[in-house]
């Protein structure tokens, strides 16, 4: 009996010690480093599979978010005009000239501009909508702008995202949710948007009924330091919910993928229940794939251990619900303790009823990798035919959650048949991370990828340096790059 007690005590010591190893370990994110400009550019510091070469074709960009190629092979880049960290600039669409200079196609407002695609002689561009609501606009080569969709509710944490053109000729786009996991809280106030839009909240695409769970926080929006706020899901900060309370769905929504005809007109829902459907791309055989940035460990309802996802979206039978805010990758958040952050309460369901059992994703990326823009090679000229190429921005630890080592900062391939993820372009050496942390002149934060129409070149939009701390991100203007990857001659 005494030996059993000793064993039990020892087990408790070991168990507490092991769980404490994670709880008390410091975060080691890739942005948690000092940076002294200028950014160095050294293509040789980027590792690629044998037979490929990389070069920088445009440098000194400010917050580039997307790259596209027209039907003649001309490359364009979007400078977003905004970065997390409340850093503002002018959003622009630039043409990249052969000598690396850039020419402004159009400049505007309503940042962040998040994506662009060339189709049928014109651009379709997404305005993130932080200040004026998201828009998808048609843009001619001489700069004439015609909105196709306006007032997309993306004033919050996530924005209206990059468009893609479907086999049906329609323009598909995603809109990210207002919050991390359905409840406006202190984390959103730190983002900066709650003071601009105090009544803003998540907007579902279909009617939902709430479970009536509320979350109490301090209330930094009043002068009283002891003031508190009680907030329910899908409601403004400081507004509690009741069991069974109905929230009306509408379009445009956020947390959804939608589509509209290239000439404009009625919007249609493609999929919903998606936290931040960032990247959209159609494979050469006409299947729609989407990356989804998953939950963070922050705010009133922190969720732990959820890697970003790659979904295949059934655009021919639209309208499926994919699980946000109560499921991750088809798994319910409120069963067991798998999604409970150390030291935080276990997540509970926010919805009284779930629209359906969510589908299963193609694959799960690394937690906090920020799997963003994606594209497919149009043929086998580049190799990797049928594989998705995904730009991974890299972690924003510690504000979004802790990591024990840098995650992301690369471009990966995904085999949709198996879900196996393999790095394609990453900084060389024994450890992973952005060049600003590792030293050298390689990749910082890949945010988008695009193939040339002939399939011979892969272009990578690299957002540039963004360091991070407990106070949030510190982006560095003028450090963005567009890289080009091609096969070496004779391959």
């Amino acid at each position: 009996m005494c030996s059993l007690v000793r064993l039990t005590l020892l087990l408790m010591v070991f168990s507490v010690g092991l769980s404490g190893c994670y709880r008390f370990a410091s975060s080691e994110g890739g942005g948690q480093a000092a940076f002294s400009p200028p950014r160095t550019i050294a293509p040789a510091d980027v590792a690629l599979p044998a037979g490929y070469r990389i070069e920088a074709i445009a440098v000194d960009l400010t917050y580039p978010t997307a790259v596209t190629v027209d039907d003649r092979g001309q490359v364009y880049v979007v400078e977003g005009g905004y970065s997390y960290g409340e850093a503002w600039a002018e959003p622009r669409l630039l043409r990249i000239e052969p000598d690396g200079a850039t020419t402004v196609i159009v400049a505007g407002d309503n940042p962040p501009w998040t994506g662009v695609v060339f189709h049928d002689g014109a651009f379709y561009l997404s305005e993130g909508g932080l200040l004026e609501g998201g828009r998808i606009v048609h843009l001619t080569m001489d700069g004439q702008v015609t909105p196709l969709v306006e007032n997309i509710p993306t004033h919050g944490d996530h924005h209206t995202n990059a468009p893609a053109v479907g086999p049906d000729g329609k323009i598909y786009f995603g809109a990210g949710t207002t919050t991390n996991s359905g409840v406006v809280g202190i984390d959103n106030i730190r983002f900066g948007w709650v003071e601009r839009f105090p009544d803003f909240h998540d907007v579902p695409a279909r009617d939902i009924a709430l479970a009536g769970r509320n979350h109490e926080t301090t209330n930094p929006l009043t002068a009283d330091p002891d003031d508190t706020a009680v907030t329910g899901a899908f409601l403004p900060f400081g507004t509690p919910s009741a069991p069974g309370q109905r929230i009306a769905g509408r379009l445009p929504a956020n947390g959804a993928i939608m589509r509209v005809a290239a000439a404009g007109g009625k919007m249609e829902l493609v999929a919903w229940g998606l936290r931040n459907p960032y990247g959209l791309a159609f494979s050469p055989d006409g299947q729609l794939f989407a990356t989804e940035n998953q939950f963070d460990v922050r705010g009133s309802r922190p969720i732990w251990g959820t890697g970003d996802l790659l979904w295949q979206i059934d655009w021919r039978q639209p309208g499926r619900w994919h699980g946000w805010p109560d499921f991750f990758a088809g798994q319910p958040l409120a069963e067991g303790d798998r999604f409970q952050a150390p030291g935080e309460p276990a997540p509970q369901f926010l919805l009284a009823d779930h629209p359906e059992t969510p589908p299963t994703p193609v694959t799960r990326f690394a937690v906090h990798a920020s799997a963003n823009g994606l594209d497919f090679p149009p043929n086998n000229a580049f190799g990797f035919e049928g594989h998705a190429f995904v730009a991974q921005f890299g972690d924003l630890a510690p504000a979004v959650g802790k990591v024990l080592a840098p995650v992301g900062y690369n471009v990966v391939t995904v085999d949709p048949a198996s879900g196996v993820i393999v790095p394609f372009a990453a900084n060389a050496g024994p450890t992973n991370g952005p060049a600003s942390q590792l030293g050298g002149g390689g990749l910082e934060r890949p945010v988008d990828v695009a193939f040339s129409p002939d399939g011979t070149a892969l272009y990578i939009a690299d957002f540039g340096v963004m360091t991070t701390s407990d106070q949030g991100p510190q982006p560095r203007a003028g450090t963005g790059v567009v890289w080009r990857v091609t096969r070496e001659p004779g391959r």
């Binding site: 799960r364 990326f365 937690v367 024990l404 993820i421 024994p430």
Partner: protein
């Protein structure tokens, strides 16, 4: 703490001791494996291919490519197979348990074979 299925105190004690001594210690060399930073991971045997599939579904998101991320690296900590098997089944520290309805015994065999293969590969050269 997610030790929700303690079955054998002695086995868990041994596991905990070994993990504290080896597993949670700083990595022994680089954990990076495969392209583009090191030699390609070439899998010919069906069990290794199956193991990679299991890894992609259940392990990759916390141990990307066997490197550290949300969780510690695996590739540079060559624990014995029985101990990896035990940790998968029981969970440990912040790592959840994966019961048989999520990873069955055959799949776990393939997973362990794949992890052993990754551990056997050369890391990228030190600079």
């Amino acid at each position: 703490m997610k030790l929700s299925h303690p079955t054998s105190l002695i086995v868990l004690l041994v596991a905990g001791a070994v993990l504290l001594a080896v597993g949670m210690a700083p990595g022994c060399g680089s954990a990076r494996r495969g392209t583009p930073v090191a030699e390609p991971v070439r899998l010919a045997e069906a069990d290794l291919i199956e193991g990679r599939q299991i890894f992609a579904t259940h392990c990759y998101q916390c141990h990307p490519g066997g490197e550290a991320g949300l969780a510690p690296a695996i590739n540079n900590k060559p624990l014995p197979g029985w101990l990896m098997r035990l940790q998968v089944r029981q969970g440990l520290g912040a790592m959840p348990a994966f019961p048989e309805h999520e990873i069955n015994d055959d799949e776990l065999d393939h997973l362990i074979a794949y992890l052993n293969h990754l551990q056997s590969l050369d890391p990228p050269p030190l600079e």
